[in-house]
Symmetry: C2
Subunit: 165 residues, 2 copies
């Protein structure tokens, strides 16, 4: 029995979903939207989910080559990433020039990311209060936001614990 996509209403799930389940959601969602989640695009989304951390485009190229013996050029990967981002399935982590799978493509891309300097994992969070604050600040100066980049670098709980050992 194939994995079924499951709606998630928890804004604090912190991205904790089974990769296969989220990929199934992506497939369903792209079907609804009438856009093509091709094999390449799906593979890249899977790689992002499996890695669980911001992954560089060239790392993806290397991973595809390992997995498939398929040599993919940079433009091909960048185009796939562009698609995934446009569909809300992935996001670029600007402070790392790297890409992560997004947890809730069915909702807007209004999340912030916490990235651990030590282990490299990232956690996605949605916080409407933050979005509102930014909108408020923007409105005060007549600025119309089109994109928010909120990335917090630091040490995750797990790494902090193992450092303290």
């Amino acid at each position: 029995m194939p994995v079924a996509p499951r709606p998630c209403a928890d804004p604090d799930c912190r991205g904790r979903h089974a990769p296969a389940e989220r990929v199934a959601l992506a497939i369903a969602l792209c079907g609804e939207r009438g856009v093509q989640l091709t094999k390449l695009r799906r593979q890249i989304l899977e790689l992002l989910w499996e890695s669980g951390r911001p992954t560089g485009a060239y790392d993806l190229i290397a991973a595809l080559k390992r997995r498939d013996a398929r040599p993919i050029g940079p433009p091909t990967v960048y185009r796939a990433l562009e698609f995934l981002i446009a569909q809300g399935l992935a996001s670029k982590i600007e402070s790392r020039n790297a890409y992560v799978a997004c947890t809730h493509p069915e909702r807007g891309q209004e999340s912030l990311f916490f990235i651990c300097s030590s282990c490299g994992t990232s956690v996605e969070l949605e916080d409407q209060r933050l979005v509102h604050l930014i909108s408020e600040d923007a409105a005060r100066m007549g600025f119309r936001p089109t994109r928010r980049v909120v990335e917090v670098e630091g040490t995750c709980a797990r790494c902090a614990a193992s450092d303290a050992t």
Copy 2:
């Protein structure tokens, strides 16, 4: 009479200070801190202040060459930028791979940036509520932040007005 640095207590000044005055402040501050704001570093800071928008490292190299007929290599510029950032005098805009002068080096680097897609100018804002929110979210999951990147891309009031014409 030389320009004197003037303290600024307005968290909403939006970076509206005379470049020369802010550079004077930087000189004073580096003196107090016992670090060297060398000619090169000062020149780069001036260029950032004069530009008023996120400026790429290679643009700075070109500008220095125009101004001084001085050919500077990338490592030299990147090292100067590293210094300015460490001193809170400048900040990297991650979403643009570019650098801006910072308004309040005497305070922490807890600001967010609004960058206009149309004219390229950026406005720096301090919002403690935002910092608190992020800290709160981080604390809930045991994450210890070391750096916050908050960049908002959009259209500034001026460009919105001229578009509407």
